[in-house]
Amino acid sequence: MTDTASESRDAPVLAPVLEISGLTKTFDDKVVLDGVSLTVARGQTVCLLGPSGSGKSTLLRCVNWLEKPDQGTVLLCGERIGMRPGGVVPMGNAELAKLRMRMGTVFQHFNLWPHLTVLQNIIEAPVHVQKRRREEVIAEAEALLENVGLADKRDAFPSRLSGGQKQRVGIARALAMKPELLLFDEPTSALDPELVGEVVAVMKSLSQAGSTMLVVTHEMGFARETADKVVLMDGGRVVEEGGPEEFFGNPRTERARQFLQRYVSA
């Protein structure tokens, strides 16, 4: 995996799955993203770290255009998101939806749809947005549930699940879209500490299986062991990025050292 990563950085034969450049976003005078650039190559797991309020969630929301950035571009496999080719005319909802359905998002607070069962949550978008055949999607969904260890919760409603189970359903729901890119926004921060492990285990196996993932997290263990690249954000800028060994072993910037002292002291 690491091989592919360095290869794609040195000699970009294929367009990276995600290429963010010069992204800027202000909320009433407050600069939240200040020229952020970031690439995620195929098969890479990139971990996005940073203190609270540094703009990580906003960055992810800009990637699937839930938030409209002021400047900069987001390319998914070389295709511009949010703007039609030429970069002047904004995309309509239908065009955006076409790109969005190629990404799978896992939310901090799960955001499962409460009126649907676990299985229905998973097949909802593949059937009704991607218009794939229902039987086929159900079969895949059942396999996915098996993989995340929740086959027996198929017909339960989300309200009856623990946080860890909800999040594993959230991951299965994202995977059912067969996404080219998986976005995770602090998938374990809303979980009780003893439930973090089960979710992290699922994410690790996804990463090892070659999924392309952009993960906002405070789980330093996960980042150190799984990431191909670690990116540290602060005040809306990328302050350091590099492989996990250099980043955790020998950070280049003072800001990264401070951050690591605070978070990895334990």
């Binding site: 998002t105 607070h109 955001n111 909802e124």
Partner: protein, 218 residues
């Protein structure tokens, strides 16, 4: 007393006609009001202040006016606008206009309390437009609104009795004409009351069923 009820039994067809009209007026009125109320909820939730002010004005006005008075206004007012309806239709129009406001307010209340995140998740998964509304937003509203819409339906059933005043042949009207003919007011009105009771019970059973469905998801 037994004789009275047997007289009513003889006029059962008239009572049944009245009951059918009450049910028809209530159901058709409720369905139309719900549909229009859902549409009206959109300007109530709009970010445009003019849209919001106008729609809110209508809703608040309806909430201040008694149903009978609106019925009279429709009954006397529509012909002025060049629209001539029979009493039955005028009554239905009054029910729909009046309850559109109440239904809109019910839907707005629930919509504004819906978790924004579940809607956002749907957008992130590529839902938009009508499919977003029909598959993600509306089902959640319907489940949460069941009891309130049920209460409103009961209110509508009871309001239809006002239409006897403009001579719409609904249940109370039928009862009144039977009692006037045979002079058996006690038996007829008690029968009518029991029929209203049964109708409202039916609604409550329906609400209970929706509640059971919603319960599992909370």
């Amino acid at each position: 007393m037994i004789r009275d009820f047997s007289l009513i039994w003889q006029s059962a067809d008239r009572l049944l006609d009245g009951l059918i009209n009450t049910v028809l007026l209530s159901l058709v009125g409720a369905v139309l009001a719900l549909a229009l109320g859902a549409l009206l909820a959109i300007p109530l939730m709009a970010s445009n202040p003019v849209l919001r002010l106008v729609s809110r004005g209508f809703v608040d006005l309806m909430r201040c006016v008694p149903f009978l008075m609106l019925t009279y206004l429709v009954y006397y007012g529509l012909p002025r606008l060049g629209l001539r309806f029979d009493n039955w239709t005028a009554g239905l129009v009054a029910i729909v206009v009046y309850n559109t406001a109440y239904m809109a307010e019910i839907i707005r209340g629930i919509w504004s309390r819906l978790e924004r995140e579940t809607i956002e998740a749907a957008v992130a998964f590529g839902f938009h437009g009508w499919r977003l509304v029909s598959r993600i937003i509306l089902p959640q509203i319907v489940l949460a609104a069941g009891p309130m819409i049920g209460n409103q339906l009961i209110q509508i059933i009871k309001d239809t009795a006002f239409l006897t005043i403009i001579a719409v042949p609904e249940l109370t009207h039928a009862a009144n004409s039977i009692q006037a003919q045979y002079f058996i007011p006690f038996a007829t009105f008690i029968t009518a009351v029991l029929l209203y009771w049964a109708l409202c019970m039916l609604v409550e059973v329906g609400v209970y069923a929706v509640e059971r469905i919603a319960e599992k998801r909370r």
